[in-house]
C-alpha cells in the first residue's frame, strides 16, 4: 500500500489512538503512517456489534418468556461464553449450563449467586431482578 493510500476514515478509535500502518513512500521504501481508521474495518466491527446486540435482545426475550435464567442475559451482555463464565466463577461448564435453566436458578444458594454477581459486576438483587434499561 502506498503512503498516499493510507485510509483516513472516521472510526471508533478517534480520541483514543491511531493505527500504525506500514506503507511505501514514493521511492518504494517502507515507512510508517498513522491512520484514523478504515471504513471496511469499521463496518465489520459494527456488524459484529449488531450481532452481539441481537443476541442480548434474544436473551432478554427468553428471560421474559421464562425460558432462561437471567444468567443467560448477563452472559450475552458481557459477550461471555460457557468457557469464560466457567473459568471466572470456578463452576464446571455443565453446572453453568444447568444454572441457565430458570427453575435451577431459582433454587441457587446465595453463595453461588454471589459468584455470578461478582463476575457480572452487579448486586445479587440485580442478578435476580435484572434492570434492562440500564445499558
Amino acid at each position: 500500500m502506498k503512503k498516499s493510500d493510507t485510509p483516513q476514515d472516521p472510526s471508533l478509535l478517534d480520541n483514543f489512538t491511531k493505527d500504525v500502518y506500514y506503507v511505501t513512500d514514493d521511492s518504494g521504501k517502507y515507512v510508517t503512517e498513522k491512520s484514523r481508521g478504515w471504513e471496511v474495518k469499521a463496518t465489520a466491527l459494527n456488524l459484529t456489534w449488531d450481532d452481539v446486540k441481537q443476541r442480548v435482545e434474544k436473551a432478554k426475550e427468553d428471560y421474559f418468556k421464562g425460558k432462561c435464567s437471567p444468567i443467560n442475559y448477563f452472559m450475552e451482555n458481557k459477550m461471555m461464553d460457557l468457557n469464560i463464565v466457567s473459568s471466572y466463577t470456578g463452576f464446571w461448564k455443565w453446572q453453568v449450563k444447568r444454572h441457565l435453566k430458570l427453575n435451577v436458578f431459582n433454587n441457587l444458594s446465595e453463595k453461588k449467586l454471589l459468584k455470578y454477581a461478582k463476575l457480572f459486576e452487579i448486586s445479587v438483587d440485580e442478578l435476580k431482578n435484572p434492570k434492562f434499561d440500564a445499558n
Partner: protein, 338 residues
C-alpha cells in the same frame, strides 16, 4: 518510581513490546519489522472446530508469545519469564522488578482494559504491554498500540493480568536480559534463521489448515458458506475474517506489509537483491488481502450476495495463496553463504 523507558508506538503489540524492551537493554537496531521477521511472525491459520466470539477462528500471525521468544533466542538474549498462581505474588514480583529499574512485559486480557474504546474490548487474552513505573496506586503502562503511555490502577492491572478463558495470561510477565553484546553478525544470523523458519511454517506445515494450504482451505470453505450458513451468518464470518486481518495491531493487510518492511530492512544486513524483489511480492500480497477485504465488505453489507460474489471472494484468497507461495519459494532459494 519511574524508569526512563522510551515508548515508541508500533503496529503490533508483541513486536512493539519486543523491540521497545530490547531498545531499553541497549539494542536499538531491532526495529518492529526486524522483531517480527526474526520471530518468524507471518502465518495463517483457520481452525474450523474452534469459535471465537461466535465466529470462526482465524489468525494471520504466529502463536502469541512466540515472536518475543524466538527473536530473543535467535539473538542469544536471555529471557526471564514468570507465571503466578496468586495475584499477590504477581504484584509483589512486578513491584520488585520496577524497584530494581527493570521494565517488564505483561500478557493481559483486552476485555477489562479500561483505556481501550469499549467497542474494541472483546475477550482476547494475548495482548502485550510494558509496565515501566508506579506512582502511588497507578502503574505506568506503555501499550505499543497506543500513541502515548497511559496508566492503570493496581486493581485494573491485576484484573487484566488475571483475565480468564482461552490463553489466560496467569499474571505472566517477561523481560529480556542481554548478557553478551549482540553483534551485527548475530543479527545477520538471526535474520536468516527467522526467514528459514518462516518458509517452513508457511510452506511445509502439515495438516492443511495452516500456512499456504490454510489460505487455500479457507478459500474453498468460503464458497460453501453461502449455502451452508445462509447469507447473514456467512457475512458475519467474513466480517470476522476482515476484523482479524485489519484489527488494531496488524499494520494493515494481515501483517503482510510488516513482513515486506522486514525484508527491506534485512537488506541492510544482507546485501541480496532478491530480498528487495521478494519484499515487493509481499506488498502485492498485502494489497490483495485488502482488496479481498473490500470484496468481503460488499458481501456483509448486503450489497453483493450472489454465489458468484462468494466465488470471487474465494478466488481472491487463492490468488493471495499463489503470490505468497511463490514469494516463500523464492526466499527458500536465496543462497546465504556468499
Amino acid at each position: 518510581m519511574q524508569i526512563n523507558f522510551q515508548h515508541i508506538q508500533a503496529a503490533h503489540c508483541e513486536n512493539g513490546v519486543t523491540s521497545n524492551l530490547l531498545r531499553y537493554e541497549g539494542l536499538d537496531k531491532i526495529t518492529e519489522p526486524l522483531a517480527f521477521g526474526i520471530g518468524s511472525g507471518l502465518f495463517f491459520i483457520y481452525i474450523p472446530f474452534m469459535k471465537v466470539n461466535n465466529g470462526p477462528a482465524f489468525s494471520y500471525r504466529t502463536m502469541p508469545g512466540l515472536i518475543f521468544k524466538r527473536t530473543c533466542k535467535s539473538l542469544c538474549v536471555e529471557v526471564i519469564r514468570k507465571k503466578f498462581s496468586s495475584p499477590e505474588q504477581a504484584q509483589n514480583y512486578l513491584d520488585e522488578c520496577l524497584k530494581s529499574g527493570q521494565p517488564v512485559g505483561c500478557q493481559v486480557g483486552v476485555y477489562f482494559l479500561t483505556y481501550f474504546p469499549k467497542e474494541y474490548r472483546f475477550h482476547f487474552n494475548a495482548h502485550n504491554i510494558v509496565v515501566f513505573g508506579k506512582k502511588d496506586d497507578n502503574y505506568l503502562i506503555s501499550d505499543p498500540v497506543m500513541e502515548h503511555p497511559t496508566t492503570l490502577s493496581s486493581y485494573e492491572l491485576q484484573r487484566v493480568r488475571f483475565a480468564k478463558g482461552a490463553l489466560a495470561p496467569k499474571g505472566q510477565l517477561y523481560y529480556p536480559k542481554i548478557r553478551t553484546e549482540v553483534t551485527d553478525d548475530q543479527i545477520r544470523f538471526a535474520i536468516t534463521k527467522g526467514i528459514k523458519r518462516n518458509v517452513r511454517d508457511m510452506l511445509f506445515i502439515p495438516g492443511g489448515i495452516a500456512g499456504i494450504s490454510g489460505i487455500k482451505f479457507t478459500a474453498r470453505k468460503i464458497v460453501k458458506w453461502r449455502e451452508k450458513l445462509g447469507v447473514k451468518t456467512a457475512g458475519l464470518y467474513l466480517a470476522q475474517l476482515v476484523r482479524m486481518q485489519e484489527e488494531i495491531g496488524t499494520g494493515g493487510g494481515g501483517f503482510r506489509f510488516i513482513y515486506a518492511a522486514f525484508l527491506q530492512q534485512a537488506y541492510q544486513f544482507h546485501q541480496k537483491e532478491e530480498l528487495l524483489k521478494i519484499s515487493e511480492q509481499f506488498t502485492k500480497s498485502g494489497d490483495l488481502w485488502r482488496s479481498a477485504a473490500v470484496q468481503a465488505a460488499g458481501i456483509f453489507k448486503g450489497r453483493i450476495t450472489s454465489i458468484i460474489d462468494f466465488q470471487d471472494m474465494g478466488n481472491y484468497l487463492l490468488e493471495v495463496a499463489d503470490v505468497e507461495k511463490n514469494a516463500f519459494k523464492s526466499l527458500s532459494k536465496i543462497n546465504w553463504k556468499n
